[in-house]
C-alpha cells in the first residue's frame, strides 16, 4: 500500500493532463497566487519607506499652495549629529527600552509561572493581570497624569499620609523618565505575561512529571526545564517588546511632552516634533530613516542572538 501525502493526494486527484502536472501552471501558480499580497506589501510598506528616503534628501517648502522640493544631499543626515533633541531622544529611548522591557519580562515571567501553578480561579487571575493592556493609551495618560499630579494626585496624597513631602514625579528632571517607565511597565507587563503564559502552558507535561518522579524541586525545574524550553518564547516576546518600546510615543506625549527640558524626550517624539509640529518634512524623514535603520539592526542582532541561544 502506498500512503500519499496531502499534496500528492491532491495532485493525484487532478486530471492527469500534462499541461497541469509538472507544467507551467504548477511552477508559476505559487508566484501568481502570492502576487496580490506582495503587491499590497510593496505599496503599503516599501513605497512609503522609499518616499521617506527620497524626502530625506530634500527640503520641502510650500508656495502658492504647491510643494517645492529642493535637493540638499546629505545635509539633513549631517545635521542629526548636532540636534539636541535627537541626541537626547536616542539616549532616553535606549534607557527607557532597556529598563522597561527588562522589568516587564521579569514581572511577566514571574506572573506567568505563578498563574500556571494556580488551579483554582486561574481565569480570574489571568483577567486581572491582562486588564491594563485593554485600557486605551489616552486613558492611561490621563489617569496617570492625574495620579502623578503634584497638588491633587493620589500618589502624593498617599505618601503625605506617612509624613513624606510631595514629589514632583513628572516635573522633576531626576524623576520624570522613571515615572514614565513605571507607567509603561504597568501598561505592557500583561503583554509579556500573556505570551509567556501561553508558552508555559504549551510545554510538554511528561517532562515535568518525569522530573518530579526524579525528585526535582521548583528551582531545578525552572533552571533545567522551564527556561531552556521557554527560550524561543522568551526571545520572541523580548523582541516584540523591544520593538514596541523603541517606538514609545503616546505615554511621553500624554504625560510629559518630552520635558522637563529633554529629560523624557524619546526618538519617536523628536520625529513627531520635527516632522509634524515644525513641518520640517525633509529633516524629519532623515530622522525617521536613521531610526528605522537602527531598529532594523536591533531586530537582526536580536534574532541572531536568539538563534545562537537556541543552538547552544
Amino acid at each position: 500500500m502506498t500512503v500519499l501525502g496531502s499534496n500528492e493526494l491532491s495532485a493525484a486527484a487532478l486530471p492527469a493532463t500534462p499541461a497541469i502536472r509538472g507544467g507551467l501552471l504548477d511552477r508559476f501558480w505559487p508566484g501568481v497566487s502570492l502576487a496580490p499580497s506582495i503587491l499590497l506589501f510593496l505599496i503599503l510598506t516599501l513605497l512609503p519607506i522609499a518616499n521617506l528616503v527620497v524626502m530625506s534628501f530634500h527640503d520641502i517648502t510650500w508656495q502658492q499652495g504647491r510643494a517645492t522640493w529642493t535637493p540638499v544631499g546629505l545635509r539633513h543626515y549631517a545635521a542629526l549629529a548636532n540636534d539636541p533633541l535627537f541626541k537626547a531622544g536616542i539616549g532616553n529611548t535606549a534607557v527607557f527600552a532597556t529598563v522597561a522591557v527588562a522589568v516587564q519580562m521579569l514581572l511577566g515571567f514571574f506572573l506567568a509561572v505563578l498563574t500556571s501553578r494556580v488551579f483554582h480561579g486561574r481565569v480570574i487571575y489571568r483577567t486581572i493581570f491582562v486588564l491594563p493592556i485593554l485600557v486605551p493609551g489616552i486613558v492611561i495618560g490621563a489617569m496617570w497624569k492625574l495620579m502623578y499630579n503634584f497638588d491633587f494626585g493620589i500618589i502624593n496624597q498617599a505618601i503625605g499620609l506617612v509624613g513624606m513631602m510631595p514629589r514632583d514625579f513628572l516635573g522633576d528632571r531626576s524623576l520624570a523618565l522613571a515615572s514614565v517607565i513605571v507607567v509603561d511597565i504597568w501598561h505592557w507587563t500583561p503583554f509579556c505575561f500573556l505570551l509567556l503564559l501561553a508558552g508555559l502552558e504549551s510545554l510538554p507535561q511528561d517532562v515535568f512529571e518525569a522530573a518530579r518522579i526524579d525528585g526535582a524541586g521548583f528551582w531545578q525545574e525552572l533552571r533545567h526545564i522551564i527556561l531552556p524550553l521557554m527560550l524561543p518564547t522568551i526571545a520572541v516576546t523580548l523582541l516584540f517588546r523591544l520593538i514596541v518600546a523603541f517606538k514609545v510615543f503616546d505615554e511621553v506625549f500624554l504625560l510629559t511632552g518630552g520635558g522637563p527640558g529633554t529629560s523624557t524626550e524619546v526618538v519617536s517624539f523628536s520625529i513627531y516634533r520635527r516632522f509634524f509640529t515644525e513641518d520640517r518634512m525633509g529633516y524629519g524623514s532623515a530622522m525617521s530613516v536613521v531610526t528605522l535603520f537602527g531598529l532594523a539592526l536591533l531586530i537582526i542582532v536580536a534574532q541572531g542572538v536568539a538563534r545562537q541561544m537556541r543552538r547552544t
Partner: protein, 450 residues
C-alpha cells in the same frame, strides 16, 4: 492705526459709531443669511471653545444652515489644517488659525482672499485687525492693511493678570503695575502648599512657556528681532532686556511660584487658580469663563483682572494669542460661500453679544464698551479693553513653528534650572538665527550674554 496697532481712543470712537448701526442691522443681517451647503470648521479645544460651540448652535438654529465642528487638541488642529490645505480638495471649509501659525497659511498661499469670494465683504469696523494680522500682502509678504483681507478674528485672546481680589482686600495690597510690585504681592500671599504666590505656565509644550514668558520679555523692553516690520530680523532675544526678563521670571518662580513651574501647562495653571491655590496667574482671557462658574471654580467672585505689569519706562505687553478664521483655496465655491456666510453672521453685534453670554470673549470692541461691561460677571471687559490696544505679536513669519520649538525647550531648561537664563537665551539666539538665516531673511545676532 498707522503703525498697525489699535489706538484706544480711535477704537472706542469707532465702537460707539458702529454700535447703533450694528444693533439695527445685526438682526436683519442674520435674517437675510441665505441657505448654504453644509460646511465644516476645524478648531482647537481651547478654554473658549464651549462659547464657540454654542454660537455655532445658535447660527444653525437661526439660519437653518448646517455646520460640522472638527475639534482637536492645539497641535492636532494645526496638523489637520496642513493636511487639508495641501490636498487636492480640502476637507475643511473654515480654518480656525492661531496667532502662532496663521502666517504659514498666508505665506504658503493656502487661503482665498475673502474679497475673492465676495467682493462686497467688509470686516466690521468694530473688530480690531490685531496688529493687521487679518491682512496679507503677497508681494511684500507682510501683514499690511494695504494687502488683502485674508481672515476674520474669531477670538481676541490676550493674557491678563488674574489676581485674588478678596486676598488683596484682606491684606490691603495694591494692584501691581510693575514687575517688582508683582513679586512683592506674590511673596506676601505665598504660603505653599496651600497657596502659591503665582502659578506660571513654565512647561515645555506646543506653546506654553514661550507664550507665558513673552509678556515679561516685551514688558522688560525685550524684542525677538531688531525691527521685524522693517525687515530686519537680527535676533535680539539675548539682549540685556531679555536676560532681565528671564532672570525675573525664574526668580518669581523660585521665590513665590509653584514648586513645579517647569511642569505647569495651561490646564494646570487654570486648575490651581480655580481651586483657590494660586494668588496670581498671567492667563489668557479665554480662561475667565471658568472663574465664576460654580460647577468649575472654588473662587467664584473672588478673582479680578488687570493688565500684565511692565518694567519702569516700558508699556505692558500682553501677547496676542488670537485666533483667526480663514477660508482655504482648495474647497468648492459653495462651501467657501457657506464659510463666509457664517463669518458674516458671526461678526454682527448681536451674534457677538450672544458669544459673550456663552462664555467666550467677543472680538468686537463695542460689545466690550457696552453696558454689559458694567455687570459684575463681565468685570474682565475693562482690562480687556485696555489690553487689546497694547497687544503684541510674538512674530509674523511662517518659521514660527520652528522658533517656538526652540524657545519652548530653552526657556523650560532655564525654568527647571538645567541652564542659566543667559545660557538659555544664547542657545535660543543661536538656534533661531540658524532658522532665520536658512529662511533667507536679513539677519544677524547679538554677542552672547555672559
Amino acid at each position: 492705526m498707522s503703525d498697525g496697532r489699535i489706538d484706544r481712543r480711535t477704537a472706542l470712537q469707532m465702537a460707539g459709531a458702529v454700535a447703533t448701526t450694528s444693533l439695527v442691522l445685526g438682526t436683519g443681517a442674520r435674517a437675510q443669511t441665505p441657505r448654504q451647503v453644509p460646511m465644516t470648521i476645524v478648531i482647537n479645544q481651547s478654554p473658549w471653545f464651549d462659547g464657540f460651540r454654542k454660537i455655532v448652535e445658535l447660527y444653525e438654529k437661526e439660519t437653518g444652515n448646517k455646520v460640522n465642528l472638527d475639534v482637536n487638541p492645539f497641535a492636532g488642529s494645526l496638523e489637520k489644517q496642513r493636511n487639508s490645505v495641501r490636498a487636492a480638495q480640502g476637507l475643511f471649509d473654515l480654518l480656525i488659525m492661531n496667532g502662532l501659525f496663521y502666517a504659514e497659511m498666508y505665506h504658503g498661499g493656502f487661503l482665498t482672499p475673502i474679497n475673492d469670494i465676495d467682493p462686497s465683504f467688509k470686516l466690521d469696523p468694530a473688530i480690531p485687525t490685531f496688529d493687521d494680522t487679518v491682512f496679507f500682502d503677497p508681494v511684500t509678504k507682510t501683514n499690511s492693511s494695504k494687502g488683502k483681507l485674508m481672515s476674520v478674528p474669531i477670538n481676541p485672546n490676550i493674557p491678563l493678570l488674574y489676581y485674588r481680589a478678596d486676598l488683596y482686600q484682606q491684606k490691603g495690597l495694591k494692584v501691581p503695575t510693575t514687575w517688582d510690585e508683582l513679586l512683592a504681592n506674590a511673596k506676601a500671599l505665598h504660603n505653599p502648599p496651600q497657596m502659591y504666590g503665582i502659578v506660571q505656565r513654565g512647561a515645555r509644550g506646543p506653546s506654553d512657556v514661550t507664550y507665558d514668558w513673552f509678556p515679561y520679555f516685551n514688558g522688560f523692553g525685550g524684542e525677538l528681532f531688531k525691527d521685524e516690520k522693517a525687515g530686519d530680523f537680527t535676533v535680539t532675544i539675548n539682549s540685556p532686556n531679555g536676560k532681565a526678563a528671564l532672570e525675573y521670571y525664574v526668580r518669581l518662580a523660585k521665590e513665590a511660584g509653584h514648586p513645579n513651574t517647569g511642569g505647569q501647562a495651561q490646564a494646570q495653571v487654570i486648575q490651581n487658580v480655580v481651586t483657590g491655590k494660586a494668588a496670581h496667574a498671567i492667563l489668557v482671557i479665554a480662561a475667565w469663563a471658568q472663574m465664576d462658574d460654580p460647577s468649575k471654580s472654588a473662587v467664584v467672585g473672588k478673582m479680578n483682572l488687570a493688565l500684565p505689569p511692565s518694567a519702569p519706562g516700558f508699556k505692558p505687553a500682553p501677547t496676542v494669542g488670537h485666533w483667526l478664521g480663514g477660508i482655504p483655496k482648495n474647497v468648492p465655491k459653495d462651501r467657501q460661500q457657506a464659510a463666509l456666510a457664517f463669518m458674516n453672521w458671526f461678526q454682527t453685534y448681536k451674534a457677538q453679544v450672544e458669544y459673550t453670554k456663552a462664555g467666550a470673549p467677543p472680538v468686537r470692541l463695542d460689545v466690550m464698551a457696552s453696558d454689559m461691561a458694567k455687570e459684575p460677571a463681565n468685570r474682565w471687559m475693562k482690562a480687556m479693553q485696555e489690553g487689546l490696544p497694547l497687544g503684541r505679536q510674538m512674530w509674523t513669519i511662517p518659521e514660527g513653528a520652528q522658533i517656538v520649538a526652540i524657545t519652548e525647550l530653552r526657556l523650560n531648561q532655564a525654568v527647571t534650572g538645567e541652564m542659566t537664563p543667559a545660557a538659555a537665551l544664547n542657545a535660543c539666539a543661536k538656534e533661531i538665527h540658524e532658522v532665520i538665516e536658512k529662511g533667507g531673511y536679513k539677519t544677524g545676532r547679538l554677542p552672547d550674554l555672559t
